[in-house]
C-alpha cells in the first residue's frame, strides 16, 4: 500500500457531528469491529484522521505497538490515546523491511485508552496516605508537552518525574507526581532537631567550660608551684642569710669581747673599769641575741642536734646561779637551787642546751620578779609522780611554806597535764628506776613575780611574741627564748608547761630525758663524791654543820648545798634550839650557818648566842676550835653588822645564792684553810703584800723543783729576796744563826726529813742560843697542798707559825704573812 500525504487534522477537528462519508481514497482502514463501549467508532476510517493515519502507517511499518498523542476522544471528549498494532498475514522475521511489512499487512488492531481512568485506576491500587497528584504528559515534542492526565499544576512545587514506557519508541511519556498538600511544617522534627542542637550546644559548652577550667586550674597550679618554690627558696635564703650574717657578726663581736676582757686585766681606774664593764655587758647581750636568732634559724631548718656528753647537773646549776646571782642580789630577790639526792651525779646529754633552757627560764623570771624568790628544783620524775599528794599538800598551798614566804602559783598545775604523767604515758605502768638506763628529770622554775596576763598565756611559746610592746621596751629581748626552749625540750623528749597567776607569780616546769652515766650509784652521796672529787670536798669531809632557818624549804636548799661538800647538816629553826644542839650534842659542830632574818630579829639574842658558843668551847676543851659562824644573806648591802661589832668572833657573811664552790671558798677562808679563792680582790692584796714583803729575805724549802720555782717566782714578784733549798737538812744548815732571813716557807712532805721535823730542829737550835738578846724567832710557815694533814695543832706543836696552801693564794698569803710582818 502506498503512503499518502494527508492534511494535518487537528484533534479538535474530529467532531463526530461533522462526520461524513469518506471520500475516495486509495486505501481505507475502516473500523470493523469495536467494543461496545466504543461502538461509535465503527465504520470510521481510521486513516482519515491525521494522527490516526500516522499511527496506523507507523504501526504497519514497524511492526510494533504505536501510541498516538493524547487527544480528546470522540464520544467522551476525554483525553486518551490509541494504541495501534498491525496484524500481518504471516510471521515476519524481525529484520524485515518496512516494504515487506506493508505488503504483509492484513489489518489493524487498535486499543483506546482513556488516560484519566487508567491513571486513576492505577493510582487507586497504589493509594498511599498522602494524597498524591499525578500529571501525565506526552513529551514526544520536547517543547510542547501534551498533558494527558492531571489537573493544572503550579510550576515551582516539588514533583517527582517518572518516565512511562508504553512500548512505543516513537512516543515519550512522563508522569509527574506531587503531594497534593504542602508538607506540613515538621514541628516535631524541627523541635527535636533544635532541641538536640541546643543540647549539643549546651554539652559542648559544658565541655568547653570544663576543659578551659581545668586548663586554668592547671595554669594556676603551675603558677602556685613556681611561687611556692620561690617562697621556699626565699625562706631558705632567709635562714642562710640569718645564719651567715649572724656568724659574720659574731666573729668580730667575739673579738670585741675578747679585747675588752683583756682590757679588764690591765691597769684601770675605777671609772674606766666601770666603762669597760658596761661595754662588756652590752657586748654580751648582743652576742646572746645573735645566738638566739641563730638558734631560731637552726630550728626552722631543723638543724639542731643534741650532743651526748658526760656532765654534772649540779655544777651546771652552779654556773647558772653564778650568772644570775649579781642581778638577783641587786634586786633583793632570793635565788635558790635544789637538786634532789636521787638525781645521779653524772648524766649523759647535752649540757649546753640544757643550760640554755634553764638560763632562758631563769632569765625570764629575773626580768619579771622584783620581790620574793626564784626557786629552781630538779627532781626525778618518779619522785614527783609518787609523792604527788603527800609532799605538795603540806608545802605549796600554804604561803608560809614557800622559800621566801611570798605566795606562789601552784606548781603542780604546770606539769599535771604532761603526757608523761597520764596513765597511758611511760610512767603510767612504771617499774623501778634501776631497770631503766634512762633518767627523766623534771625541772621547775618558780618565781613570785608579776605573772603573765591571762590573755597572753596561750601565745607564750610562739616565737617573737612578747606580752606587750611595753615589755620589750622595758626589758629588751627578742621574744624567741621560750619558743627555742620549747623546741629544745621537745628534742630532749620532754614537755614544757607553766602556770601563772598575775601579781602572784609563775612556775615553769619541763621534763627532759637523759641517760644515766653511773647506773649503780643511787646510794650514798659520799661515795659519789669520792669518785668525783670536788676539789674542796675532801677537805670538809666528816665535818658537821648546823643550819638555823625557820623556813623549811630554804633550809633544805642550804642543806643540799652544804652536803655537797661532804658535811653533815642538821637543821633547827631558831637560835635557842641551835644553842642547845651545840651544847648537848655529842659530835662537835664545826660551823653554824644562820639565816639573816634570824640574826636580825633580835640583836640581844644574837649576841647572847655568840657569847654562849664561845663559852661552850672554852668550858669543854675537847671540842677544840669553836664553830665558825656564818650569816646567810641575800645581798651584802642589806646586812648590818653593827650589832655584833663587840664580838671578837665576827661572823662571816655568806652571800646567797649558795653555790658549792663559793660556799667552799667562804668556808675555807673562814676556817683558815686556804685554797684557790676568788682573786677578784687580788689587786688589793697584791699591793699590800708588796708592802709587807718587799726587801725581805725569804727561804723556801721544797724538794720539788717546780714548786720551788713557782713559790720563788711568786715571792719575788712581791719584792722579796728568795733563796731556795730542796731538803730539810739544807734548811737547817741555812738557818743556823746568825742568818739574814726574815721568814721561811717550808714544805711539809719531803723525803728524809719532813717539814715538821725540820722545824722542830730549827726551833731547838734557836732556843739553844745562849744569849737571849740574840734570840730570833724565825717565822716559819708551812706550805701544804693537803689541808687535812696540816691541822692547826700539828703545826703549832712543832713550832710553826701558820700555814699557807700550795700554790699560793694571795689572800691567804697576805693574812698569814701580815701576822708577823708590818707594812714597811
Amino acid at each position: 500500500m502506498d503512503t499518502m500525504e494527508q492534511n494535518p487534522v487537528h484533534e479538535d477537528d474530529y467532531v463526530p457531528d461533522e462526520l461524513e462519508p469518506s471520500p475516495i481514497h486509495e486505501e481505507y482502514a475502516p473500523v470493523i469491529f469495536a467494543q461496545d463501549t466504543i461502538s461509535h467508532v465503527i465504520s470510521i476510517d481510521v486513516l482519515s484522521g491525521k494522527e490516526d493515519r500516522e499511527n496506523v502507517l507507523r504501526a504497519r511499518e514497524s511492526g510494533k505497538g504505536v501510541l498516538t498523542a493524547p487527544f480528546r476522544l470522540l464520544k467522551t471528549n476525554r483525553l486518551g490515546v490509541i494504541l495501534t498494532f498491525a496484524v500481518y498475514k504471516r510471521d515476519l522475521p524481525s529484520n524485515a523491511t518496512p516494504n515487506e511489512r506493508i505488503q504483509a499487512t492484513d489489518g489493524y488492531l487498535g486499543g483506546v485508552f482513556e488516560i484519566e481512568s487508567l491513571v486513576e485506576k492505577l493510582l487507586q491500587q497504589l493509594a498511599s496516605k498522602q494524597t498524591v497528584l499525578v500529571n501525565v504528559y506526552d513529551t514526544t515534542n520536547q517543547t510542547h508537552s501534551i498533558p494527558m492526565y492531571g489537573s493544572d499544576v503550579s510550576g515551582d512545587e516539588f514533583y517527582h518525574v517518572s518516565f512511562l514506557n508504553f512500548g512505543d519508541p516513537f512516543r515519550k511519556h512522563e508522569m509527574h507526581c506531587r503531594f497534593k498538600q504542602k508538607p506540613p511544617f515538621p514541628r516535631l522534627a524541627t523541635g527535636t532537631s533544635i532541641g538536640i542542637l541546643v543540647i549539643a550546644l549546651l554539652v559542648g559548652h559544658i565541655f568547653h567550660a570544663t576543659v578551659s577550667r581545668i586548663a586554668k586550674v592547671e595554669d594556676d597550679y603551675q603558677e602556685m608551684m613556681v611561687l611556692k618554690k620561690r617562697a621556699e627558696a626565699a625562706d631558705v635564703a632567709k635562714s642562710q642569710f640569718l645564719a651567715t650574717v649572724s656568724h659574720e657578726i659574731r666573729t668580730p663581736m667575739n673579738g670585741v669581747l675578747g679585747m675588752m676582757n683583756m682590757l679588764m686585766d690591765t691597769d684601770l681606774d675605777v671609772t674606766q673599769q666601770e666603762y669597760v664593764r658596761t661595754a662588756q655587758g652590752s657586748g654580751k647581750a648582743l652576742v646572746s641575741i645573735i645566738n638566739e636568732v641563730l638558734d631560731q634559724a637552726k630550728i626552722e631548718s631543723g638543724k639542731i642536734e643534741l650532743e651526748a656528753v658526760l656532765f654534772d647537773i649540779r655544777s651546771i646549776m652552779d654556773d647558772v646561779l653564778s650568772l644570775f646571782s649579781e642581778k638577783s642580789q641587786g634586786k633583793g630577790v632570793e635565788l635558790a637551787v635544789y637538786v634532789s639526792d636521787q638525781v645521779p651525779q653524772q648524766l649523759i646529754g647535752d649540757p649546753g642546751r640544757f643550760r640554755q633552757i634553764i638560763t632562758n627560764l631563769m632569765g625570764n623570771s629575773i626580768k619579771f620578779t622584783d620581790k620574793g624568790h626564784i626557786f629552781v628544783t630538779i627532781h626525778l620524775v618518779e619522785e614527783v609522780f609518787h609523792s604527788i599528794e603527800v609532799e605538795r599538800e603540806s608545802t605549796s598551798k600554804d604561803a608560809e611554806h614557800t622559800l621566801s614566804g611570798f605566795p606562789v602559783a601552784d606548781g603542780r598545775r604546770s606539769w599535771e597535764g604532761f603526757r608523761a604523767f597520764s596513765h597511758e604515758g611511760p610512767l603510767g605502768s612504771f617499774s623501778s628506776t634501776s631497770s631503766n638506763d634512762l633518767i627523766s628529770l623534771i625541772v621547775s622554775v618558780e618565781d613570785t613575780g608579776d605573772g603573765i596576763p591571762l590573755e597572753s598565756q596561750p601565745m607564750i611559746f610562739t616565737p617573737f611574741m612578747q606580752v606587750g610592746p611595753s615589755i620589750s621596751r622595758k626589758h629588751g629581748g627578742t621574744g624567741i627564748g621560750l619558743s627555742i626552749s620549747k623546741c629544745l625540750v621537745g628534742l630532749m623528749n620532754g614537755e614544757i608547761g607553766f602556770v601563772s597567776e598575775p601579781k602572784i607569780g609563775s612556775t615553769f616546769t619541763f621534763t627532759a630525758v637523759f641517760t644515766n652515766a653511773c647506773p649503780n650509784s643511787n646510794e650514798l652521796k659520799t661515795q659519789q663524791i669520792n669518785n668525783q672529787p670536788h676539789p674542796a670536798t675532801s677537805e670538809f669531809n666528816g665535818m658537821a654543820a648546823l643550819v638555823i632557818d625557820p623556813r623549811p624549804v630554804r633550809a633544805e636548799v642550804s642543806r643540799y648545798h652544804i652536803q655537797r661538800l661532804g658535811v653533815r647538816v642538821e637543821i633547827v629553826s631558831d637560835l635557842k634550839q641551835g644553842l642547845s644542839t651545840v651544847t648537848d650534842g655529842d659530835a662537835s659542830v664545826n660551823m653554824i650557818l644562820i639565816e639573816q632574818e634570824v640574826w636580825d630579829r633580835d640583836s640581844s639574842i644574837s649576841s647572847h648566842f655568840v657569847n654562849n658558843i664561845r663559852k661552850v668551847v672554852e668550858i669543854d676543851k675537847g671540842k677544840g676550835i669553836p664553830p665558825k659562824l656564818f650569816i646567810l644573806v641575800n645581798s651584802s648591802s642589806s646586812f648590818r653588822a653593827g650589832s655584833t661589832a663587840s664580838c671578837l668572833h665576827n661572823p662571816t657573811v655568806v652571800t646567797k645564792p649558795l653555790r658549792a664552790s663559793m660556799l667552799a671558798a667562804s668556808l675555807q677562808r673562814a676556817m683558815g684553810v686556804g685554797n684557790k679563792g676568788n682573786p677578784r680582790n687580788g689587786e688589793h692584796q697584791g699591793l699590800s703584800l708588796k708592802h709587807l714583803l718587799s726587801g725581805r729575805k725569804i727561804l723556801i724549802v721544797d724538794d720539788n723543783s717546780v714548786n720551788r720555782t713557782v713559790a720563788a717566782g711568786a715571792l719575788k714578784k712581791y719584792g722579796a729576796g728568795v733563796v731556795c733549798v730542796s731538803s730539810g737538812i739544807e734548811a737547817i744548815t741555812m738557818l743556823r744563826p746568825p742568818h739574814q732571813f726574815d721568814a721561811c716557807f717550808m714544805d711539809i712532805q719531803m723525803p728524809e726529813m719532813d717539814g715538821f721535823e725540820a722545824t722542830r730542829r730549827i726551833r731547838e737550835i734557836e732556843n739553844s742560843v745562849k744569849d737571849r738578846e740574840l734570840f730570833v724567832h724565825l717565822p716559819i710557815l708551812a706550805m701544804t697542798a693537803d689541808v687535812m694533814q696540816a691541822t692547826h695543832q700539828e703545826c703549832s706543836k712543832c713550832g710553826m707559825d701558820g700555814y699557807v696552801s700550795k700554790p699560793f693564794e694571795a689572800e691567804q698569803l697576805y693574812r698569814e704573812v701580815s701576822k708577823f710582818f708590818q707594812s714597811s
Binding site: M262, V706, N707, T709, A714, A785, P807
Partner: protein, 147 residues
Amino acid sequence: MYSVAQLVEYTSSLFQQGFLDDQFNQLQLLQDESNPNFVVEVVTLFFEDAEKLLNQLEKEIGQENNIDFKRVDALVHQLKGSSSSIGAQRVQRVCIAFKNYCEEKNVEGCFKSLQDIKQEYTLVKTKFETLFKMEQQIFAAGGSAPR
C-alpha cells in the same frame, strides 16, 4: 703564722677544757721584764720532774703484787704538788684519785690511775708545747703575747 687572737682563743680553750686552772694565770702574772721566760722555765721543770716521777711510778706499779703503796703515794704526792703549782688541773685531779686508791691499797685502781696520769700528762704536755710555739712565733714576729 699565728695571730694574737688565735693564741687567746687557744688559751681560753685550754681553760675551758680543764687543762689549766687559775694557778696558771697566777704563773703568767709572775712573768715580767726581769723574768721574761718564767713560765716556760717552770713548765719545762715540770716536764722533767713529771717524767722522772712517772718512770718511777711505772717501776713501782709494775711490781704488781708487791706494790709499795707508801712509796707510790709519796711519788704521786710529788706529782700532785708540782702539777698544782703550775695549774695543770686535770693532772692534779687524777693524782688525787690516785692517792685515794693508794690509801685503799686498791691495785686495780692504781693501774688505772697510772694510765690516766700518763694520758693526762701527755695531753697537757702537747698543749703546753703548742702554746709555747704559738707564743714564740708571735714574739719572733714582733708582737707580744697578751697576759
